[in-house]
Symmetry: C2
DNA sequence: TTGTAGGCGTTATCAG
DNA sequence: CTGATAACGCCTACAA
């Protein structure tokens, strides 16, 4: 028996020597595929146990040409909505014996491309991505061309050849806005994450516009914000909210934005929901803990992560790209104000 | 020139053929180590560009025996404090050209061990971990024995041979409690994450106890909660908060717990800070957005992630394990109540 | 300065 | 049922 090497340095060769069999046999026992004599298997397993051996996935992957690792790209883990989807991905991946390689883009297209390239250099089995704009992305074009399997999360491209797990953002944006209108608000504005950084934001605004049109209302204002710097827009927001035709209802394209706006308004002594009603979007957990609680569209982020992963596995087996539309739900909350009868989500 | 294969299937052999050189030359150009004729390098680079080639890290890693991937284990990404540390890790990793493999334990020791084993099977270059109990962990013992480099985050073991990046949890717990006392609270209780699931929680409670002793006060109650199920403890908490000697000050071992307790109290019509003052721990971003804003100990989570990664790199170069103690800060907030003069963090 | 060849740890093929 | 062996993609002596 060789000297016991470090855990991370053991190879099946060590195990083979310890068990007195060939490396091929060790491999077979480890993978349980081929027919093996029970005693041989026992010997090998004992050796594995004794040595504390764990197969090197690198060798396995190189041999197989593909890995059971999924590459995940999110805009930012600091938005709980994305963190939650990653939790769902992790759950599904764990169930399937897969690992998760993660990267963040910071909502920046250049970093997005760079990060995807890095993930690909690991020869991951597939990708789960939330990108800035799923309809025009050079990197997604490349992935398509080279048939690298991926599934988008949150993104909801117009084209139907890209696999996604998402909700209907336009419909949800419409529902959120309808809730404001149903609550009695007539002068509505939207605070949105930059459209170039988030196609969802744009789609939610489309829903906002549709609901306004339905009710024959005009948009009072549209404030596009960077996702990271809200404070800088304080003056602009104050201006809008104290202007001549100031809105009484605000639709925010994400909950995080909504919470920041609410804090801003509090500082400015604008009462929520007294003077302004607010609806968010995402359904992050902390929204329910606020006072007033945040009315919002709840996305099933965790489930979205799980479903996206499962669809990725399906695609690896040759399934065609699907656009998985998950149900969302409007969650009423004190921030809405007015005398709302909350509409039900689809 | 061969048929253009899928991006992910290209090898340096393809590039070599395309450029009319040997694979060794391609490798050398890619790594920029050896002396190369400028024109040769140009040819190779052109071929790389033309083909859209990106080196397969699996092959590289197998050959090198080690990878530029860091394995990260957190209790849960759904607590923003951990998500934030991962953001810091990602930043530092990206700067260094490393990738991030991530797993969550759900605060469960068994899953913790399993996850670390999985990360190790990838032969990661090192590990960044937040474990349940850094002082007694069979897995950490194993890592030490086999000299697998790792750095702990948030964990603050008593022993000084384990590398960490953390804050002084006892001192911070003491400061948080002192703040409650300084605010005029005399009947103090603590709501803590289960000690078996979080050594930090235990240490923060030690700080709590020390501050009480200093002020010659008795602990009114200690409520240990599972990190995921707070609602279930509603009755217990209500009982404590309405008991004969009910506390007027509450120290919560995490911000997330504090926010949940605040919501619970709101439902129970117990005024915060009117009837109960609250201090949290972590400094998650949303705490500042609440009304009242959450008084808390702010940990430099992002920086902690960055520093932990950097120390891991240092350890890989042979540096001895360090216990990096980062500064924390007490952030006053409306939840504190009383007439506090907030103490400064160290 | 460049090419040839061996081997990293694993699995699959092919004999026995 | 088991063993020897040839790859997988890459890097690095060693040769030329």
């Amino acid at each position: 028996m060789r000297n016991r090497a470090a855990y991370s340095k053991l190879t099946i060769r060590d195990v083979a020597a310890e068990a007195g069999v060939s490396i091929a046999t060790v491999s077979r026992v480890l993978n349980g595929r081929a027919p093996i004599a029970p005693e041989t298997a026992a010997k090998v397993r004992a050796a594995v146990e004794r040595l504390g051996f764990r197969a090197n996935r690198t060798g396995r992957e190189l041999r197989a040409g593909i890995s059971r690792t999924v590459g995940v790209l999110v805009p930012s883990l600091d938005n709980p909505v994305f963190a939650e989807s990653v939790t769902g991905i992790q759950e599904a991946a764990r169930d399937a014996g897969w690992s998760v390689l993660i990267a963040s883009s910071g909502y920046d297209v250049e970093r997005e491309n760079e990060a995807i390239g890095n993930l690909l250099s690991h020869r991951v089995g597939g990708l789960l991505l939330t990108v800035a704009d799923a309809d025009r992305s050079a990197t997604l074009d490349t992935l398509d061309r080279e048939q690298t399997p991926y599934v988008l999360l949150y993104n909801q491209p117009d084209r139907d050849d890209r696999a996604t797990a998402t909700i209907d953002n336009v419909a949800a944006g419409r529902d959120a806005t309808r809730a404001l209108i149903a609550a009695g608000h007539r002068r509505l504005a939207m605070v949105a994450g930059r459209f170039v950084a988030s196609d969802r934001s744009k789609q939610r605004h489309r829903g906002f516009s549709e609901a306004l049109a339905e009710a024959r209302l005009e948009q009072v204002a549209l404030i596009e914000l960077d996702f990271d710097a809200v404070a800088a827009f304080d003056p602009m927001i104050r201006a809008v909210l104290t202007g001549p035709n100031r809105p009484t209802g605000l639709f925010c394209s994400t909950d995080l934005l909504a919470l920041r706006i609410m804090a801003l308004l509090r500082e400015a002594h604008v009462a929520v929901p007294g003077e302004v009603g607010i609806v968010g979007f995402d359904g992050i957990a902390v929204g329910r803990l606020m006072a007033p609680s945040l009315a919002t569209i709840v996305q099933p982020s965790r489930e979205m992560g799980r479903r996206a992963f499962q669809h990725l596995l399906a695609r690896l087996e040759g399934a065609a790209p699907e656009q998985i539309l998950l149900p969302y739900e409007f969650r009423p909350g004190g921030s809405l104000g007015g005398t709302a009868n909350a509409p039900q989500g689809e």
